[in-house]
Amino acid sequence: MRPILMKGHERPLTFVKYNSDGDLLFSMAKDHNPTIWRADDGTRLGVYKGHNGAVFTCDVTHDSARLVTGSADQTVRLWDVRTGEELHRWSYREPARSVDFGEGEKLLAATTDPFMGEPSKILVYRLDDDPAKLDSEPVMSLTGPEGRITRAVWGPLNNTIVSVGEDGMLRKWDAETGKVLHETQAHEKSIVCLQPSYDGTCFITGSHDKTAKLFDFYSLEELKTYSHEKPVLSAFVSPLLDHVVLAGGQDASQVTLTSSKAGGFESKIVHKVYNTEVIGTVRGHFGPVNAIAYSPDGRSFVTGGEDGYVRLNHMDAEYFAL
């Protein structure tokens, strides 16, 4: 296949996300500019200007009308997807690390990093279609663990919030009371990614301990473990085939002594059920791969790398026969 290379970011990518229909692609990077692209041919559709720091996270509503982003500039901002207009801003004293719309997009969960003595927090907001009526105050604020929370997502039916952090712990919070319902030491090292599957049944986590794990979204039962040669920076579950894709590389700060062969700048597709069988690898990035996502139809996947490139891989027919 011939991947489409999209160079629009000057700095490393942090996160990529498809919209629900799979025709739009959102990329977040350290260059302050969340960008929207067309997913079929990779043409750039727009840039959301406004952030003053690296953008780590985003989520988009089901109707692809609203985009929410979180950034190191200590704000979470809501945008109009089509026009690029900033609709609302929530400000903090700490960098915002993760954002997630709840089911129905009436709720927003955002997390902030521990900073200047403040612990990490999960903040829940009630949303309204009318931007003017948006509340800047959270309906609930949960204090997280000492370490950084790298991602927090809504559980099924918005009853719970699931979070992962640098302490390798996986926690389930009650969305009503804010109590921790369940916590496990899911990984030995920092968990840097958590991606729910499109069908909402499970999620996959990626960690610096060179493994990715598949969990049941309800029970938090660990279903599978996929091992990798390098720290896993991002992972995704295919909606179409029994595959998961892992991507990673040395932690960006440690890339000095490796060759590209050893740096693992490739994405690895592994069988979801036969977790030790590798389907194949796709190379191409000149640096560690920080973000990866399958399209909702499972026919392509996009990767964002430390090298600032976004690569869109439409899989060939051969892939679907596997």
């Binding site: 296949m1 011939r2 991947p3 489409i4 290379l5 999209m6 160079k7 629009g8 000057e10 229909d21 025709d23 739009l24 500019n33 960008t35 079929d40 041919d41 043409t43 750039r44 559709l45 727009g46 840039v47 959301y48 200007k49 109707d63 692809s64 089509r82 690029g84 029994d242 890339v255 000095t256 002594l257 490796t258 060759s259 590209s260 062969k261 050893a262 740096g263 700048f265 490739e266 069988e277 590798v278 389907i279 194949g280 690898t281 796709v282 190379r283 191409g284 000149f286 139809d297 392509s300 690569r311 891989n313 439409h314 899989m315 060939d316 027919a317 051969e318 892939y319 026969a321 596997l322």
Partner: protein, 329 residues
Amino acid sequence: MSKGSAMSARTRWGDDDDDLFGDGGGHGASSGGAVDISLPPPQIIGPDANGVKTYIEYKINEKNQKVKVTKKVKVSKYMRRVTPGMVERRKWTPFGDAANARDQECRTVASIEDIYLERPRLQAEKTELEKDKDKLAAMTKDSATLMPYRSMRLRAKYRELAQSLGIEERGDTMPPGDDDGPPGSGSMPPLPSKGGYVPPSLRGGAAAAGAAMRDRRDENSLRVTNLSEDCREADLQELFRPFGPIQRIYVAYDRETGESRGFAFVNFIHHEDAARAKEKLDGFGYDNLILRVDWAAPRPERADGEGGGGGGDRGGPRHDRGGGGYGRR
């Protein structure tokens, strides 16, 4: 590749993108960008009853020979759901920075080369082995080489040899579990054994393979400047390795401080790889500096005498093998 049916009329839409941006052609061996008037026009035949489409293209290779490239593809159709929302969004216009028509900062290009889903180890290595076998075969000066070419003579020979040593050469067969796997358990069917993917470095044909091996080093040598001080050979390895096997990297160091003087020479084995690397990495932002990559001017090589056999001691003694090795440590 999946794209709207409207686009299927074009032969290689990746090349078209190049034209859109006005970069012109000349990206390595397999590009069709620079159209030579004397070349016959490309043709598309089919799809035939089996759904096989044939693309025929002409290009000039390094030796200034006209090469006819025939590519057979199997076209399959699938249905894609298009929601009203998608239809609506197709009408959207760019905004923000994207609104600048010829925004130099952003480029969307289809990759010139094919990226393959590399199958796990044995498959990948097999391709390496075949590459070499093909190179050897190529040196027998066949003018019309069929890709991929398998040396029957060599294979038979090695099979015999392997038999004589009691090893079964698995040769072309797949690793256990991938081959005619146990039926009905969702195993993977084998890759099409004839045809199938061809590593780019072999695409240039026998002539290119031969030429590559006979290239003079200077032609494959790139000079990289504007490197950061703590840039090391290994960093350049990782940066240039994706383009192809590297023969040698030389980083200029300051004798006193031990830092890099900011430039280095990278020698590729194949000229095409060097050309691609130059094209891709010239102007590439690396470690907060913009790299400059040029062809190196021919210069006398330093004698690189790295002698001594064998690696160092790793916790165990290396006995002086009286019979082998030169013995000087």
